[in-house]
Amino acid sequence: MGIYLPIAEISVNVFVLLAMGAAVGFLSGMFGVGGGFLITPLLIFYNIPPAIAVATGANQVIASSFSGVLSHMKRGTLDFKLGGVLLAGGIVGSTGGIFVFAFLRRLGQLDLFISLLYVVLLGTVGGLMLVESVNALRATRSGAAPVLKKSGQHNWIHRLPLKMRFRASKLFVSVIPVLGLGAGIGFLSSIMGVGGGFIMVPALIYLLKVPTNVVIGTSLFQIIFTSAYTTLVHATTNQTVDVVLAFLLMAGGVAGAQYGAKAGQRLRGEQLRALLALLVLAVAIRLAIDLFVTPPNLYSLTATGLN
C-alpha cells in the first residue's frame, strides 16, 4: 500500500516503513538503545532525502525514549539532576548543530557530511564494541573469571573544578565534563538525527563512572528533551520533519521494542554486544561504500528560493 509523504514529497510503501520501524524497535528493545543511528541510515537507503531522514529520525527517537523513561521512572533508576545538567549542555550543542546543518545544506555538502559522520562514528563505536565483546567472549570460554577493569578512582575528569553532587548517582563530579558531554550529544542529535545513547551510555559509565543501573534511564531522559528540541528547531528552521513518516516508524517501533526486549533477555550480555557491534559496523560499511562508488548521476539539481 503506497502512501505519499507530505514533506519528503515521495510515495513510499506503508508496510516497508512499518517493518523498518518494527525491526529497529526490536533491535532497540533487545540492545537497550534508541535506534536513531539505525533509522536514519535506513531511511537514506530507502531514498528519503538525508535532511528529512535526520529531522524525522530525531522525532521518532522521542517516542522510543519516552516509552523507556516511563518504565525507568517507575523503577527509580533515573537521576533527574544529572539528566538536567546533561540537558542544559544538550540544548547548546543542538542549537549549534542546527546552524551547522542549515549552513552545510546551503553549501550542498550536507549529505556528504552526514554520511561521513555516520561512517566515522559508527565505525569507531562498532569497532571498539566488537573488540571488547570478542575479548569478553574468549575470556568466558577459556573459563577465566571476567576481570573487571579496576576503575581508577580519580582520573583527570575528577580533578576539574566546579564540582556538583548528584545524589541518585552517588557522584561528586565537576559539571564541565557533564555539560560538555551533553553538548556533544546535542550536536550529533541535530546533525545525525540520533538520540546519542550509543555514545552517551559508554561515556557515562567509563568517563563519569555513573552506576550502570541509572545510566540508561538518565540517558533516555535527556535524549527525550534533546531530540524534542532538535525536532522543534528542525521543524521551524528547515521544515524537514515529516510527521507521517515519523508516525509510521514509531508505530512499528513501539510494538517491535517489546518483542526485542523479551528476546534480549535470552541472550548473554557479551553476545548481545557482539551482535550489536556487527550490526553497527555493517551500517557503517554500507554507508562508506556509497561514498566511494561512482554515483549514477554526477550532477544534482537544487531549487532554491521557496522551499
Binding site: G2, Y4, L5, P6, I7, E9, S11, N59, Q60, I62, A63, S64, S65, F66, S67, L70, S71, K74, R75, G108, Q109, L112, L116, I224, A228, T231, L232, H234, A235, T236, Q239, V241, V243, V244, A246, F247, M250, A251, G253, V254, A255, A257, Q258, A261, L291, F292, V293, T294, P295, N297, L298, Y299, S300, L301, T302, A303, T304, G305, L306, N307
Partner: protein
C-alpha cells in the same frame, strides 16, 4: 516624404479590405488562440502523472496552406520559474564530493512540449533559439554571467538532461493534432512530480517554417488533500507543527507502553 505616402497607402488598403475583404490583395494575417477548460487543476497526493489536453484554433488560416499541411503548432506548458543550483560531484581522495556548482535564474520547474511534427522538421534551429523554444533551446540564465562560458554550457546541458531524466522536461511529438482546418488539440504531459504553482500554456504558430504568432493562457496547478494540508501547516505554522510532532511522538511512546506493558 515617405511617411505620409505610406500612411495613405495603408488607409487605402484598409478601405479596400473593408469594402471587398475576400478579394483583398494582402492575405489576412493568421492568428492562434488557445483555451483551457479550467484555470486551475487540483492534483491529489497519489498523482501519478496525467495528460493535459489544450484546445486551440487558427484564425484566418489559408485553406491552401492548411491542405498542404504547412501550418505547424507547438504548444508548451511551462512550470513556475525558480532559481536552481546545479552541482557536480568529483572525486576527492576517492570520495565523491559536490565541488563545482552553477546557479541559474528563472529556470522553469517543468517544461512539456507538444508538437505537430518533430521539432527539426518545423523550423530552423536558429528560430528556436530566438524564441527560446523547446527544452534543448530554452535559454538558461546564469546568475553569474561572468563565469567561464564552457562551464556554463556544461552545467546548462546537465540541467536539461537531469530535468528530462526526471520527466519534468518532456516532448510529445505528434501531440498536436488538427481536428479540422482551424481547430487543433494539444496533449501535454504532466509529470508525477509536476510542481505546484502558476503554469503558463503557450502556443506557437508556424507557417512553412516561419514563426507567425504566439498566444498564451495561465493555469494554476495545486495539490489538494490531507498531505497537502500537512505540507502547508509545516511551512506556515512550523512552530506549532513541531510541537505537534513532539506530542505525537510522546503519545505514541506512552500508548506503546500502556498496550504492551510488562511491569
Amino acid at each position: 516624404m515617405r511617411g505620409p505616402k505610406a500612411f495613405a497607402t495603408a488607409i487605402l488598403l484598409s478601405l479596400l479590405a473593408a469594402a471587398v475583404p475576400v478579394k483583398a490583395q494582402t492575405p489576412p494575417v493568421e492568428g492562434i488562440q488557445i483555451g483551457l477548460s479550467t484555470d486551475n487543476v487540483s492534483i491529489t497526493a497519489g498523482f501519478s502523472g496525467a495528460d493535459l489536453t489544450i484546445f486551440g484554433s487558427l484564425e484566418n488560416p489559408d485553406p491552401l496552406v492548411a491542405r498542404q499541411g504547412r501550418y505547424d503548432v507547438i504548444v508548451v506548458l511551462e512550470g513556475p520559474p525558480r532559481p536552481v543550483v546545479v552541482r557536480r560531484k568529483d572525486r576527492v581522495l576517492g570520495v565523491w564530493v559536490n565541488l563545482e556548482s552553477e546557479t541559474f535564474e528563472n529556470v522553469p520547474m517543468s517544461y512539456s512540449v507538444a508538437t505537430t511534427r518533430p521539432l527539426q522538421d518545423i523550423t530552423e534551429p536558429n528560430s528556436y533559439k530566438q524564441l527560446s523554444l523547446g527544452a534543448s533551446n530554452l535559454y538558461m540564465q546564469p546568475a553569474d554571467a561572468g563565469d567561464n562560458p564552457a562551464t556554463i554550457e556544461e552545467f546548462t546541458a546537465a540541467l536539461r538532461s537531469r530535468k528530462t531524466a526526471t520527466g519534468l522536461y518532456s516532448e510529445n511529438v505528434g501531440g498536436v493534432q488538427f481536428l479540422s482546418q482551424n481547430l487543433f488539440r494539444a496533449t501535454v504531459r504532466l509529470a508525477p512530480n509536476v510542481p505546484v504553482g502558476t503554469h503558463k500554456a503557450r502556443a506557437f504558430l508556424f507557417k512553412s517554417g516561419v514563426f507567425i504568432k504566439e498566444s498564451s493562457a495561465q493555469l494554476e496547478i495545486r495539490k489538494s488533500g490531507f498531505e497537502q494540508s500537512i505540507f502547508r501547516v509545516a511551512h506556515n505554522y512550523s512552530f506549532l507543527y513541531g510541537v505537534f510532532a513532539i506530542s505525537l511522538a510522546m503519545l505514541t511512546g506512552w500508548l506503546g507502553r500502556v498496550i504492551f506493558r510488562k511491569d
